[in-house]
Amino acid sequence: MKNKKINGSRILLECLYRLGIREMFGYPGGSVIPIYDEIYKFGKLKHYFSRHEQGAAHEADGYARASGRIGVCIATSGPGATNTVTGIMTAHMDSVPLLAITGQVSSNLLGKDAFQESDIVGITLPITKNSYLVTDIRDLPRVIKEAYYIATTGRPGPVLVDIPKDIQLDEIDYEEFEILYSKELDLPGYDPTIKGHPWQIKKAVQLIKEAKKPLIIAGAGVLKSMCTEDLREFARKADIPVTTTLLGLGVMPSDDELFLGMLGMHGTVTANFATAEADLVIAAGIRFDDRIAGQPNKFCEQAKIIHVDIDPAEIGKNKKVEVPIVGDLKNVLESFNKSIDKLEHRDWVEQLNLWKKEYPLTYENGKDGRLMPQDVMVGLDKILDGNAIVTTDVGQHQMWVAQYIRFNNPNSLITSGGAGTMGFGIPSAIGAQIAKPHVKVVAIVGDGGFQMTFQELMMLRHYDLPLKVVIINNSYLGMVRQWQEMFNDGRYSFVDLSINPDFGKIAEAYDLEYAKIESKEELDKKLRGLIESDKATIIECRVEKEVNVLPMIPSGSSVANMVGKRGVLEDA
């Protein structure tokens, strides 16, 4: 009897399935036809048909962030693969577990500048956690297992696997595949530290007990480590106020007395004052990036810093700290919680409460009932009540989302933090909606970013996704305009988007519901119905054009240079 054979494409799918993957995003092309043929025959993996490979990558990213599982996207060689680059880079900057599978021209054509050949492994070297060009079908089971393991463990990140077409078609005996698949991984250079060093933890606990004005700065690491509850327990037990980075929003319920809002360039006054005033900072899963610590030496100047991160390379990269702890936050926080009984910092919390009262987030009302962008956020916040998933693009609307919408659950804000990718909002929302079909998902995007990836809207119709897309249309590239106003004497260079498409017609073309909101009154009247509807809808909000995001700590400076503390720019 002839032995049962399995080809490379089937090996790929079989491995993905065994690793627990059930859904993936992709776009076919010449060099992945064998894989798509097997997807057709295999039947156990649901493949979502994106309309652009960048969309596929962002969808997988949004899926991963919403679900906490790996996101998988697939693209063909050459332009298909290069189209995923922005998506891979976005996932890399925000440490999202993403598996990008690309087809490659056949091995015999590699290096010959063949049709649709590109060195995607070379192109993505700096933006992947690891990458593979598979040159032997017998490596494939190991590579897929390794890729999955590396992407999802330690500090998560994107891994790319490039598979030449002949490897996809090549066959081995099924029995051999089973033997290859069952082999243990051999990664001697990859062993993420999970347990924090006991001596460092002891030192940290001592500092926490001695501190008078401690502050927790929580970041995306808390979400990756899935230890939101541990962090909340720690904060409450030790009575320590919490501020978060943009990507950390949701770690602490927004209404909690101990929560100060987001910190950084457009953070709350209280959160930023707290960093200047604190005598101890517990930096939990953050990387002191330049939007948080514009001037690293002036950041948390009076504080000793305990920095907990799973990536040793983050320790001391941007900011020198007193107590570094390399380890999984969950593990470290559990140790903190075990070693600390109830602490109290009431005076400190009271002081922060006073600042909260004195410097609430605020903005001027629109003249003559005109709609302010912040009105939209406040309106949405009332309706969503902290329980939806919100995705954004990058820019002003992103900051207003972070400021005015409450997030009570982890992984409920999906936004491109490190990369700052325009066009991320719509595809990531599609991914999130697929991962969480029963949760309300709202993509809030600018009129600029919308135009970068709106082809993905076709998926709403294709897969019946009840997504809401809110366009904050100020007919400007708002954030760049704001910088040009503040730092370039108002020379508005190529930020004017008054020539925009008719968003209503786009909605019509994609067979989606559409509504336009142009005044505060209309917002109050219409928004709830639109958001609560179960139909995919584009909601265009025509807002006041030249509004600034405030407060603001200008790039490269410290909290002392914060402007707009009361919601308006002071005269210089």
Partner: protein, 162 residues
């Protein structure tokens, strides 16, 4: 303070690993002065010795960033003391009947080997640490250097420890 250090990297010898390491150096603005790479006694592994320049903080970062590369198995900085460092140089010097004997004599002092003699040139092979090679180069400058080929530094700790 900026100094140069020898960094040892042991890595799985996978496709493009040197490109991966160099890409990280370029991306983060770290400066590699010299590099030597080759096989080791462990099958499937490569050993790289890089001469890198930076202060202690930068050096600390470089080590962590290199170790983050999945295939890299070991990273260390060789201490100033207790380390053997060697470079190999092949140097082509102008020579004629008058100077040939002098050059050969100097090469002997430096324990160099003459590899090739031609009517107007000599090729000499020399091994040693950076200062020794530099000293020899300076001596040869008076005769006229035609070509120099140098490896990077290879280094090893004294004693049993790696």
């Amino acid at each position: 303070m900026h100094k140069s250090y020898e960094m040892l990297i042991i890595t799985k010898n996978t496709n493009g690993i040197v490109a991966r390491i160099m890409s990280m150096f370029n991306r983060r603005g770290y400066f590699v002065q010299k590099m030597s790479a080759g096989a080791t006694n462990i099958p499937g592994h490569a050993r790289l010795t890089l001469t890198v320049v930076g202060d202690e903080d930068t050096l600390d970062q470089i080590q962590k960033q290199v170790y983050k590369i999945v295939d890299v198995v070991k990273v260390k900085i060789f201490p100033e003391e207790g380390t053997i460092r060697r470079e190999l140089m092949i140097i082509k010097v102008k020579s004629d009947n008058e100077t040939r004997a002098q050059i050969v004599q100097i090469a002997e002092i430096y324990r160099g080997n003459v590899l090739d003699v031609a009517p107007n040139s000599l090729v000499i092979e020399l091994t040693g640490d950076t200062t020794k090679l530099q000293g020899f180069i300076e001596m040869m400058e008076t005769y006229g250097i035609l070509e120099i080929a140098k490896t990077g530094v290879v280094a090893m700790s004294r004693g049993e420890k790696m």
